[in-house]
């Protein structure tokens, strides 16, 4: 009797425990299913974007063929479209932006992690992160109203005069000074990608073990040598990640570029000349594009940008893998 009355509550407790375990198993399964569905959703969206871009661009790609990639002319009147000028503009502006932003970004990161007096560290760090929070349209407006007139009246005439008659450079910096053009948008892009590169580089610099740096200082290395030989080699994968993130933003940036690039479907040797990028062309022309071939050509531009971004990210991954393999071996 006493045994039975003892057993009763314990079996009830066991049942309750069982029920709880079952409930946990169920919520766990549900949770696993949800997370898996979210992960699959990303693949579905990516696949859907790729398929719809391809379907939308089929008409243009089939009627122009490979010459779509190599033709500079973009003529809505005769419906002859070529993507060379936007591709050129996209690559050149992004490349110049990265060339400018990477050294400055690494410089800021080195200063913040190695040299900066403590009280200054936070304000500068926060300022850099605030720079990333500014909407791109603000950069565009600032670029058009403040930066472009400044370039046009102060910087460009000076550079044109300095390089006048110097072979190569004179055509690279040929006038007239419009103020807006390839170089202007590259400079704006450099400012826009700078915070991405800086904050990631700063974060990875913080991961360098103090013992490594201290040993280097201990054997008499200068700050430059420590940065060059210890910090940067130790963190190059992270730096690469920051650069790729910045490059991705530079390639796809639309509004700020549209404001300051000049939107001309031409390839000129001069960096001061107006040009266009893929995203700027789409933003400018999609609303009024009538005619299926015109719309399809714009979608093709989107597909090309998609492919370029994909290739660059793939190349970055590949490089990181090779570095990983080498350091791992």
């Amino acid at each position: 009797m006493t045994i039975a009355s003892d057993a009763m509550p314990s079996s009830a407790a066991a049942r309750a425990r069982e029920a709880t375990v079952r409930r946990f198993a169920l919520t766990d399964a549900l949770f696993r299913g949800l997370t898996r569905a979210s992960a699959i959703l990303v693949l579905v969206i990516l696949g859907g974007v790729a398929i719809s871009l391809f379907a939308g661009s089929w008409q243009a790609l089939s009627s122009f063929g490979f010459s779509f990639l190599t033709t500079e002319s973009w003529n809505p009147v005769t419906e002859k479209f070529g993507a060379l000028a936007p591709i050129y503009g996209t690559l050149v502006t992004a490349a110049i932006a990265i060339l400018i932003a990477v050294p400055i970004g690494i410089g800021i990161a080195v200063f913040l992690t190695e040299l900066c007096p403590r009280p200054l560290r936070r304000p500068i760090g926060i300022a850099v992160e605030l720079l990333a929070g500014i909407p791109s349209i603000i950069y565009g407006i600032w670029g058009l109203f403040v930066f472009a007139p400044f370039l046009q009246t102060a910087i460009q005439p000076f550079i044109i005069n300095v390089f006048h008659g110097v072979p190569g450079l004179s055509s690279l910096f040929a006038g007239p000074p419009y103020g807006i053009g390839l170089l202007t948008s590259a400079l704006i892009l450099a400012i826009m990608v700078l915070p991405f590169i800086t904050s990631i580089t700063k974060d990875v610099f913080d991961t360098v073990p103090a013992v490594l740096k201290e040993s280097a200082y201990g054997i008499g290395c200068t700050t430059w040598e420590v940065t060059r030989r210890v910090v940067i080699p130790y963190t190059r994968i992270g730096i690469m990640g920051g650069v790729m993130l910045g490059l991705g933003r530079a390639l796809g940036e639309t509004m700020a570029v549209t404001f300051v690039i000049g939107n001309a479907h031409r390839i000129s040797a001069s960096l001061f000349a107006p040009g266009t990028t893929i995203s700027a062309t789409i933003a400018n022309e999609f609303t009024e594009a009538d005619g299926d071939l015109y719309t399809s050509s714009l979608v093709s531009l989107g597909l090309i940008l998609f492919v370029i971004t994909f290739l660059i990210l793939a190349a970055a991954r590949y490089m990181l893998m090779r570095i990983d393999a080498r350091t791992g071996a």
Binding site: S73, W74, N75, P76, V77, T78, L144, F145, A148, P149, Q152, G175, P176, Y178, G179, I180, G181, T258, F259, G262, N263, A264, H265, P274, T276, A280, A283, N284, E285, T287, E288, A289, D290
Partner: protein, 353 residues
């Protein structure tokens, strides 16, 4: 507590149901349209006043002429609006009726030190040569000849054009093509063209900004933008060889001198019209709606709105620097509605009151 929650839930559900009901009732009465950006300010103003007068709302999305044509073809809106008229065979094929609603003028604007609005005069061929890149400096002989009294600087001409497809560009290039065979052959006429020179800027306001910031610049904008931004417009030599200023009177003169019945769907481009007073770059904007609409009631409402705008909207148009259509054209359009736009039963949706 539970009871309270349930009754609260019921109350919320009922409130939601009534709002959906009232919302859908309101939506049914609203006229929807989409298209050209150029007439958007005046359509918005008319719609606002009309709603106060009659309670019938109009929802107009200024997504661009191309978008407006696409939307009306997809039948997602009651009417489409376009700055470039559809051709006769396209109207025939789609069963759309087309009529002009309001007009405006396009003016060349320049940024030259010491030159005030209206001091500089250009003619069609010179304007075409500037935009072709043949004339590259402000002290070119062709410009000097037209402006013997103006001191022209030896400054490079910076051409500014629209970067987005636009009805303004269509009308502007139509005029250049009309006066210059070279332009017609090399560049052509469209809402977006392959510009031989210059920088592109988005929208009328973009061109206005770029011109006012770039020394030696020339661009083209709707008259209202030139006026509001206090830009330096130029005068033009028109088809009759007379010098004209861009004024509402000059735009009206061009419209009055046009032969509206010459094109199906009133698709007359008002560029380079004859007449001593005519401004050469006048432009109309058109409405497109179905002659046999699926939703006859809403199309009937839309026609009532357009009739109201023709009758009572002239003053509002003037305030915003648009030019109302001539009376003769309005009468003809109304007669066309009464004859051609019919419901399912074959009865006209609009009757002259």
């Amino acid at each position: 507590m539970r009871h309270f929650i349930r009754s609260a839930a019921v109350a919320i559900a009922m409130a939601a149901a009534t709002t959906t009901l009232t919302l859908s009732a309101a939506l049914a009465a609203d006229i929807s349209g989409a298209g050209a950006t150029f007439p958007y300010p005046i359509y918005a103003k008319w719609a606002d006043t009309y709603k106060k007068d009659t309670g019938v709302g109009l929802n107009y999305q200024s997504i661009g002429s191309g978008g407006g044509i696409k939307q009306i073809k997809a039948k997602t809106v009651t009417f489409g609006a376009s700055d470039a008229p559809l051709k006769g065979d396209e109207l025939e094929a789609t069963g759309l009726a087309q009529f002009p609603m309001v007009m405006g003028g396009i003016v060349p604007v320049v940024n030259l030190e010491g030159i005030k609005p209206g001091e500089l005069v250009l003619d069609g061929p010179t304007l075409a040569d500037i935009f072709l890149g043949k004339i590259t400096s402000w002290d070119d002989e062709a410009i000097k000849k037209l402006n013997p009294d103006v001191k022209l600087p030896s400054q490079a001409i910076a051409v500014v054009h629209r970067s987005d497809g636009s009805g303004t560009t269509f009308n502007f290039t139509y005029y250049l093509g009309d006066v210059s065979a070279d332009w017609k052959e090399k560049v052509g006429v469209d809402k977006a063209v392959e510009w031989p020179v210059g920088i592109g800027a988005k929208g009328n306001e973009g061109v206005a900004n770029n011109v006012s910031q770039t020394g030696g610049a020339i661009g083209y904008v709707e008259y209202a933008y030139a006026k509001q931004n206090k830009l330096t417009h130029t005068d033009m030599i028109n088809k009759d060889g007379k010098k004209v200023e861009p004024t509402a009177a000059a735009f009206s003169a061009a419209a009055a001198n046009a032969d509206w019945s010459s094109q199906p769907g009133y698709g007359v481009i008002l560029a380079n019209e004859p007449g001593a007073e005519s401004w050469p770059m006048t432009a109309a904007t058109w409405i497109l709606l179905y002659k046999k609409p699926d939703d006859a009631a809403t199309t009937g409402e839309a026609l009532k709105f357009f009739a109201w705008a023709y009758d009572k909207g002239d003053e509002m148009a003037g305030e915003l620097d648009y030019v109302p259509m001539p009376e003769k054209v309005v009468e003809s359009v109304k007669a066309m509605w009464a004859k051609e736009v019919v419901g399912d039963d074959g009865k006209p949706l609009y009757s002259a009151m």
